[in-house]
Symmetry: C4
């Protein structure tokens, strides 16, 4: 059987990375939006707000376990973009990553709708609405609270996404206190958890364009209509544009307050004398287990730093 | 005392594996169904839906800690079957594993009924029913929500079990981001947790034939009667047949999207030059600590790959 | 300052172990009973049943972090006794351990009463009762649910304590899937958590004579009166006697189903060629860091095995 | 871009440490007070008391990940002070650390107020009050429960802060059961979680002068008025003075009951023969990765012990 599967093996690197980003985001949204669907359609009898936070957190964790060894697990266009601006990811690769992420989120939303079809029909009586007592559009994408002004929402998304990037960069900083190899996915999940616990009530902490736009597009097509774009004074674009600004801000903050001050380069060499070799290996698309170990050690920037070289 | 116990030592491998699968599933169900019993009989005063999710998650975690070093801790016939189809577990061993798993689940259900006998009698007034205000059959096995169609249930169980396998395979993939040695049980438990949080409300996420059928059989014998098989338009067979399909689908998805594309074999040798030796050792049923370490590293497939050889 | 403290240094081993057991249990009860006090006096507004489970779980975790490196962190007379019966802990040491554990629990109960004095007075209006709407004796020790028969309670405590020992032994079994060094305390805490989630509603999962009797004694002296001993048809002795039976049963179950069947001794030598040396070192009471590391690897039995030698 | 950022690089050690302490506390309060703001303004619909506990716990975790490798991550003036008294941190450095911590907490409170501006205005109708149905001052700093006497509050804060230090010292004690490298931040977060679960209802577990005074100062300036200082019979000074006493008490307790009795010095040398070298390196402000690893191993005292030398 393994031999049979081998036939479908893809050797070139970019397609493999796109598959990983696609599948990682797919699992992230499958668990994340799934938990919202469960809490919504069971009317809080089979879950609470905290379980939604856990759904997105563990969704992120397993999404990263699926993609990290192959693509570095950005799983978030805002992350990919900020890495590009920082010169740590190649602009040429960006569109491929972003499309894969969006498609994964879109398909996952469709899967959630399929799995909860009976539940949604029973809960809404067949009326798919964005607002009201039996609103279900919130299962798929985020909508701002009634009290939230547009600028309030912009600030909310900037702070939230910046907080995400600060945590992710700290966890992956080999000169600081890096997360143990193999546990980064759990700790990035914990970051998503605490953001949901402390920044979730204003506008549902999208902090990820793919997580928000992919499912929104699906809900538009699947019968919730263009209200999904008109709701919240046309909220839909905020989680797309603003999160990228927030991600960049967070990256700069971490680098300027912590990252750039490390007494490093030598230390780095110390850390892995074989780095150079490994990157070459990586260039050739043949990733040795050592490289993977190394990737794990130096976190989100590891693979991407190779891209630039 | 230790010397005394040594007398009962079993040297041959299969019986030891069966004992491990039996005991692992026993603990999984003891904690899992126990948490449902606590929430049900205390009428949500001593627990909530989230604590049921935690009960099955941590039950899985400790079930794996008990069995992993000996049998690889399938603890789930759907997992064993899909491993066989993938050619990673021997068909001849399958029936022994499945029977041990079923027996463990059955006995654990009996233990839960014993521990909660007074509570169930007090809560139900002695009327053991499958539905209604004081229904208690749900302590043991899963029943679909009223709104759920048969096909909806089939889709629900396929997606749920597929999600489980995808997470388990990712956690054990030495070429991706494998879980740290000794923490796989915790992370597989986390996968069960998030599945319960995001896919639990439709039909109670059986995602494991043994977990569902063993306790159902017990509840049938113990006084809940044949309603346990008739309920939900004869739901009982879905968690048995469909979960196997889902497990296989999940395995194929992970392999086709991630697994087969790893630039590997050399890397594997890199990873453990002694693998060959170890497998021989294993064949002879004498498992060195190194092998165990190795097993931990390459996760669920490690021991089983040896079986095929 | 460090030099000043050094003056009080104790060199002989037993007193150090007693201090560790005392302090470990003290912290366990301080957090555990403290969480009950918080939920009780705040009338569930600042916590829920799940937070009580977390309080005892994390209390256990930090109790073990405090004591493990010195005394092996039994923190539970039932554990110590079953280790003696299995010939893995010396009977001569038993009374010292048990007294330290009891005293730690007693003093911790007093501390909780001091910290929550105003809260308890405000909540009860000064009437310290064992039952009724403003009962507060449950802050300190366990009481069976009204529906629970004596035999039901005995069964409940046997199963609960057996489950605890099975999990602890699995986590410490170097031939199975041992918990990673330094994380055993967290995982034993997780075992306490899941026991509280799945076996807590019948009689409050004492599963530890010291945890139950120490605080009960305090509540008797501190003004709750002899009702603390008469309540639940004289429940008080069950968590003392029965938990020891349960602990022994659990140990035997794990050993007979898993432990004794490991194809081991050689493997052990493999694992640590220096074990012999270390034990000698240990005998002399001078514990090298290697020994401590080794202890961590082979878990609860490590230090104690040395005792027998 | 990296090269551009490098321009802003600071080489001398103290300023880098101050930046780290500032940023670490900033993130701690951003998540901690943010979770209170979410629960308060959503009136418990988007969170519960447990999620506030999680907010401060994970806030601490990520604050430590951000600062630990640079400053040792005190993040708490009470911790810094008690380290000074124990002679493990230099008095000359103390004021710089404390000011950075305070400023971080102040700025984080301002950020939370900005992010939740619309929510607070909507919830309070623009009336910023310290008490009453729509009180919001509790978002920023702690206030005692109505029933709590001043002495009760003093005892509460002493016990809480002492418990924190005991846990932190145990986690960092290389001769006991130290937390695994890279997971100390998670485990210190767990200590904060259990303190919130078991000691939170009396006065909101400040256990950190910066966490309480920084945000209180902000709320005073931002429109809550001098009531923030008058409330609770002038409670404000208790979390500042008393927590330092508690931290010192906790440190002494751990050292006198556990720490000083370790049969050590040799063991230490065993543990890292290169310690001396590393400290020299550290002195020169050039911190090699090995040093950082070592720091992680010996926890909170590692960097600071170097300071004294």
């Amino acid at each position: 059987m393994d031999r049979l599967l081998r036939r479908y093996r893809i050797k070139s690197r970019l397609p493999r990375e796109c598959l990983a980003e696609f599948f990682g985001v797919y699992v992230l949204i499958l668990f994340g939006c799934g938990s919202v669907a469960q809490v919504t359609t069971s009317q809080n009898t089979k879950g609470e707000y905290l379980s939604i936070n856990l759904g997105f957190a563990l969704g992120t964790t397993f999404g990263i376990y699926i993609a990290k060894g192959v693509s570095g697990a950005h799983l978030n266009p805002a992350v990919s973009v900020s890495l590009c601006v920082l010169g740590r990811f190649s602009w040429t690769r960006l569109p491929f990553y972003v499309c894969s992420q969006l498609f994964g989120a879109f398909l996952a939303a469709a899967t959630v709708a399929l799995q909860y079809y009976d539940a949604i029909m029973d809960f809404t009586g067949g009326h798919l609405t964005v607002s009201g007592a039996t609103a279900t559009a919130g299962i798929f994408s985020t909508y701002p609270a009634d009290y939230l002004s547009l600028w309030g929402g912009v600030v909310d998304q900037i702070i939230g996404t910046a907080a995400l990037l600060v945590c992710v960069l700290a966890l992956g900083d080999a000169h600081n206190t890096p997360a143990p190899a193999g546990l980064e996915p759990v700790l990035v999940g914990a970051a998503v958890l605490v953001i949901g616990i402390s920044m979730g009530s204003n506008s549902g902490y999208a902090i990820n364009p793919a997580r928000d736009f992919g499912p929104r597009l699906f809900s538009y097509i699947a019968g919730w209509g263009d209200e999904v774009f008109r709701a919240g004074h046309g909220w839909w674009w905020v989680p797309i544009i603003v999160t990228c600004v927030g991600a960049l801000l967070g990256s700069l903050l971490y680098e300027l307050l912590i990252g750039v001050h490390h007494p490093d380069s030598e230390a780095v060499d110390h850390e892995d004398p074989t780095a150079a070799l490994q990157q070459t290996v990586e260039m050739e698309g043949a990733q040795s287990f050592d490289t993977i170990k190394e990737n794990k050690k130096s976190g989100i920037f590891s693979i991407t730093s190779a891209d630039v070289g």
